[in-house]
């Protein structure tokens, strides 16, 4: 039963990574930049939900919505102020800016909410499910997390394959110049992707803090980096790849913790990344990029 229980925990953690990785990969796909501040949006999402629930006493659903709306706006503002002026700049400048935004968000959180960890109350207030005479115990938050990830994947797939804006997003990812010739406003489309990615980050933050209830200004940093790893393993730029990479990474991390050792788990996670980059640099579902002649 230990195996099954680890697997469920792995899928749950992996689902959080997947949701974060989706944001990373979509932003990379369209803006061709690594938004290293993405992880910190998760943390902001966690704090907004925490404030909504405990300080403002809002119902859980409203607090979660507040967190999603807040992060969506944050994503749009960050893109407009920090990244948009650098649209034509070398990618190194954008990368450094993203790292700067990451520190800015962490330190702003430190200023506003302080350094002492907050204890996040799970958004799912249900008893655990006990199966096989109590041999297998499933936390309801695990189910909610996996289910949320699934719903998000289905919605995003439908959005990018069926809707006009979703298709415009794919067109911009492929060729911004040609997309403009079609009448697509590239700047608006990039804003939209940042909005969606940041909204997803808020959901990930709420789910993450519901499972691991310690909330600090650095809460988003490591999950952010791991989700980035997941996006690269799945093939950066690929939406199904991000989901697959996220879930795989979550399972690997939990199994490494259970069977090898807690201290080594993170090393193993990043070890997988290195091995992956050596064997299949484009990632599991990524496309090989050919140099055009």
């Amino acid at each position: 039963m230990g195996f099954l229980s680890n697997l469920i925990n792995g899928i749950s953690l992996g689902s959080v990574y997947a949701i974060i990785a989706l944001g990373y990969t979509m932003v990379y796909g369209i803006a061709k930049m690594l938004n290293f501040a993405h992880g910190d949006v998760i943390m902001v999402g966690g704090y907004l939900c925490f404030i909504g629930m405990s300080s403002l006493g809002l119902p859980t659903v409203v607090a979660v919505l507040l967190s999603i709306v807040g992060c969506t706006c944050l994503g749009i503002v960050v893109e407009r102020l920090a990244y948009k002026p650098l649209r034509e700049a070398p990618s190194l400048a954008v990368l450094i800016t993203a790292i700067g935004v990451s520190y800015f968000l962490q330190n702003s959180a430190l200023l506003i909410w302080g350094a002492d960890p907050k204890v996040f109350k799970s958004i799912v207030d249900l008893p655990s499910i006990s199966l096989f005479d109590g041999q297998l115990v499933i936390g309801p938050i695990n189910l909610v997390t996996a289910l949320t990830c699934l719903v998000i994947m289905v919605c995003l797939t439908l959005f990018t394959s069926r809707t006009k804006m979703g298709k415009a997003m794919r067109a911009c990812s492929e060729d911004k110049g040609a997309a403009q010739l079609m009448g697509i406003n590239v700047n608006t489309t990039i804003s939209m992707v940042f909005a969606i990615g940041s909204g997803l980050a808020a959901i990930a933050g709420v789910l993450l803090c519901s499972t691991y209830p310690t909330l600090m200004p650095t809460t988003g940093a490591l999950p952010g980096i791991k989700a980035f790893t997941a996006a690269v393993i799945g093939g950066i730029g690929s939406i199904p790849g991000a989901a697959l990479g996220g879930v795989l990474l979550g399972i690997i991390e939990i199994f490494a913790k259970a069977y090898i050792g807690t201290q080594l788990a993170d090393a193993i996670v990043f070890g997988v990344l290195i091995v992956m980059l050596l064997i299949r640099p484009a990632g599991l579902l990524g496309k090989e990029i050919h140099e055009k002649v």
Binding site: K167, A168, R170, Q180, L181, G183
Partner: protein
């Protein structure tokens, strides 16, 4: 043609790439209903001129007027709704999107009903696109990709269609077919501005032509006259 109003009027256009002066004071006009072609060697500034009209490049000085309205400073994504479509050099179709999705993007600024209507028109003109509608654009042959790029530009029902090197990389038989289609489109009311290195083909279907050399217009006139002009024949038509 004497009494017609210019649809597109370019005056004294100057475009730079950094320090390189690529287009040097180019002026030309396109009348409604015409096929006008810009011919010239590689690097003469033909594509640069088209991209400036389309809003992809910002000219340093000069004016671009479409139906009496200045296009200077109008962003590229607003051109389609003004009635201008550019079928760009190298076709630039969306490789990972299906043929049908590519066409839908062409009608991005139109309503779903209009897009549906135009898709039927485009499939009728290019039956091969109908056959291949569920295939990713990147899997089409060169000729099919050119047809897709033209179909996609057509989806917006443009008044002026600009084509940049539509014959590039195509077998001679396909080049014939593509030029016949351009002629047909023009006869059905679309004004055409064509940029070509294949000068003989371009001159054979065009009404008027401008010859560009290193960023300047060096000759202009009736396409048929230029086709038989000694200097044009020597420089661009292999004697």
């Amino acid at each position: 043609m004497v009494n017609s109003v210019s649809m597109l009027k370019i005056s004294d256009l100057n475009v730079y790439y950094g320090a390189i002066h690529a287009v040097k004071g180019v002026s030309f006009e396109v009348e409604k209903g015409e096929i006008v072609t810009l011919i010239g060697a590689n690097g003469a500034g033909k594509s640069t001129t088209l991209n400036s009209v389309a809003g992809l490049l910002k000219p340093r000085t000069g004016s671009v007027e479409f139906e009496g309205e200045s296009l200077i400073g109008v962003p590229a994504h607003k051109m389609v709704s003004k009635g201008i479509a550019l079928c760009p050099e190298g076709r630039r179709i969306f490789q990972d999107m299906t043929v049908r999705e590519n066409l839908e993007m062409g009608a991005f600024t139109r309503s779903d009903e209009e897009a549906h209507e135009m898709r039927k028109v485009v499939y009728e003109r290019f039956p091969r696109l109908l056959e291949r509608r569920t295939q990713p654009g990147g899997t089409l042959s060169g000729g099919e990709q050119q047809m897709l790029a033209m179909g996609r530009a057509l989806m917006s029902k443009p008044k002026l269609m600009m084509l940049d090197e539509p014959s590039m990389g195509l077998a001679p038989i396909l080049v014939q077919e593509i030029f016949q289609i351009i002629k047909d489109l023009n006869e059905q009311g679309t004004t055409i501005l064509l940029v070509e290195q294949n000068a003989s083909m371009a001159l054979s279907i065009a009404d008027r032509a401008y010859v560009l050399e290193t960023g300047r217009v060096t000759m202009s006139g009736n396409a048929n006259d230029l086709l038989h002009d000694k200097r044009v024949r020597e420089a661009y038509l292999g004697g």
